[in-house]
Amino acid sequence: MHQIRAFILKEFKHVFRDRKTLLLLFGMPVVQIILFGFAITNEIKNSRIIVIDQARNIWSHRLIDKIDANIYFDVTGIKNDPREVVRAFRANTAVAALILSPEFGSPDKLPDRAPYQILTDASDPNAASLITDYLSAIIVSERTSEINTPPPLQIGTDVRMLYNPSLKGAYNFVPGVMALVLLLICVMMTSISIVREKELGTMEVLLVSPFKPVYVIIAKVIPYFVVSVINLVVILLLSVFMLDMPVKGNLLLLLAESALFITTALSLGLLISNITSSQQVAMLISLMGMMLPTILFSGFMFPIENMPWPLQLISNLVPSKWFYIIVRSIMIKGLGLLSIWKETLILLVMTLFFIGLSLKKFSVRLQ
């Protein structure tokens, strides 16, 4: 017991005496949150829209005012000629266009063609579809507010964005960044730390001692567990207070699930350290093998449902995918353990699998 304590203390010393890595460990989460939270956003605030108003009546004017007043849109021009739309798209002075036909607004005339048309620059398809939906929603609500009786035989769609009505990007990114940062730190740092021992030659000396090699592993993992928990708390604080993220569900459950994920990542780091013998390779596998799949397959940047099914299968192997679901469920949807027991179990099984494999491959000798 005394021995393990001494070893853990030594590991803490290593972590805190390495200034550069320390900067990375604690600086990275902060930077990522700030970057993703503020700078990179796929929201559509102030989208530039050009209106071709061929109706020029009080209803079209009212609609245009309403659109311009909405924070998501910025009317950059009101023109007559539909050809202006192409010009505007090319010059990038607009990303969407609303064409109001001459019959727009008149309640008594039954239109023989579409009273309005929405055109979007779909080179950013995500934004384009959002814009279309918003715009339609605004127009429909404006129309129904004027006519007391809704037009007959109309099937209205009621589009509502549950949980995140203002479609704040932060809700998407923060859980993703949490997964990414925790995974990177735990996997990379753990594997590097163990491999460094091998490279230095001190592992050799440790093996030839009564100290059980298994304790080496445990002792190495603990400082990074502590560092990761600190990072987790920092990320949560930043997200809640700076980015206005809610924590609708149980905070303790969130922390417990995060602790589980940290353990999963640590055990993955262990596994990597067992199969590599140089720090560079360990770092490379961690970065390339972990970071890329996490970004691609956890679902926070690209929807998994849109991917071809082989890739969807692969995404199931990425631990951060499950953690992402868990975090969103707890933080944004306010759900409890009953809803996420499946994902939790998967993470648990993964952890046990990694640990089991590491122990099996761990050698008490050099060969």
């Binding site: 005394h2 021995q3 010393k13 001190t202 001692s209 009564p210 000798r365 050099l366 060969q367």
Partner: protein, 304 residues
């Protein structure tokens, strides 16, 4: 005998030559046994097998009667091991390193301080300095302390003097000598031939095979022929010209003189050499018969 090595064989990759090719020797209590040979001779592999870190392909290694393969756990608690390149924690201080290794071996610095006191005295002024910032000689001393801290029965030192200056090397061997009185069996490897005379017994090793085991004195006495040293004003020219004399068998530079042997044992042949050389223009020729050093013996065995 505390350490017994019996016909150890080890090769690393299929088809590649054996790193260790049937090596046998033993080390007793209070003895310093030197494995003398160049890099790649197989020294480190032998050490690793004795330290229970590698499994031999065939043969046996026993430490204190325990088998290195089956009873490795027992061996690991009574070995002091110093692998090459001083395995120390660079960012821990001298004292922290020592304390850590003491704890790992379930002991404390104070418990066996007697053993390391003479060495640690030199380190003590730097005990708060990080190990990475020590010079080679100091790292070597610290590594030795860490290996001794738990009062091992057997000390395995793999090239502890490589890359260290001659003065520190000398001091190191003086320290090893003092440890003999504690009954510790010490196995040391080194590529420096001149350190061989400081051992009780030596084994010359090359290409995974032992070329001979004996006391240094016996090895030197077994040199099969007469050995001469010669010097002149122009040493480079001397070496070249010596090699052209038909009766000269081997001629090798040895610092400030050249050691050579003759094909025959006749005294007249030796006496004729200075004459031949001065006729070739050499000046200030000084020649004498000498006792062979370990290096002379090693080269002779290798060449023969």
């Amino acid at each position: 005998m505390k350490v017994i090595v019996d016909n150890l064989v080890k090769s690393y990759a299929k088809g590649s030559p054996r790193a260790v090719d049937g090596v046998s020797f033993s080390v007793g209590a209070g003895e310093i046994f030197g494995l003398i040979g160049p890099d790649g001779a197989g020294k480190t592999s032998i050490f690793r097998m004795l330290a229970t870190l590698l499994i031999p392909d065939s043969g046996r290694a026993t430490v204190m009667g325990y088998d290195s393969v089956n009873d490795y756990r027992k061996i690991r608690s009574l070995l002091g091991y110093m692998p090459g390149r001083f395995s120390l924690y660079q960012d821990l201080t001298v004292e922290e390193n020592l304390r850590f290794f003491a704890t790992v071996f379930n002991t404390s610095i104070e418990e066996n301080y007697e053993l390391i006191r003479d060495i640690y005295i030199l380190l003590e002024p730097f005990k708060h300095r990080r190990a990475g910032k020590l010079s080679g000689g100091m790292k070597q001393k610290l590594a030795l302390c860490c290996a001794l801290i738990h009062k091992p029965e057997v000390l395995l030192l793999d090239e502890p003097t490589t890359g260290v200056d001659p003065v520190s090397r000398n001091e190191f061997w003086e320290m090893l000598d003092k440890l003999k009185s504690y009954g510790i069996a010490t196995l040391v490897s080194t590529p420096y031939m001149d350190e061989a005379v400081l051992c009780d017994r030596i084994g010359l090793i090359q290409h995974g095979r032992l070329l001979g085991i004996n006391t240094p004195a016996a090895v030197m006495a077994s040199f099969p022929r007469a050995l001469y040293a010669i010097r002149s004003r122009n040493m480079t020219g001397l070496l070249r010209d010596l090699k052209t004399i038909p009766v000269v068998r081997t001629a090798l530079a040895f610092g400030s003189s050249i050691h050579f042997t003759l094909r025959s044992e006749g005294e007249e042949d030796a006496a004729s050499i200075p004459g031949v050389l001065s006729r070739q223009g050499h000046e200030e020729i000084r020649m004498e018969k000498i006792d062979p050093s370990i290096e002379d013996c090693f080269i002779e065995i290798l060449a023969g």
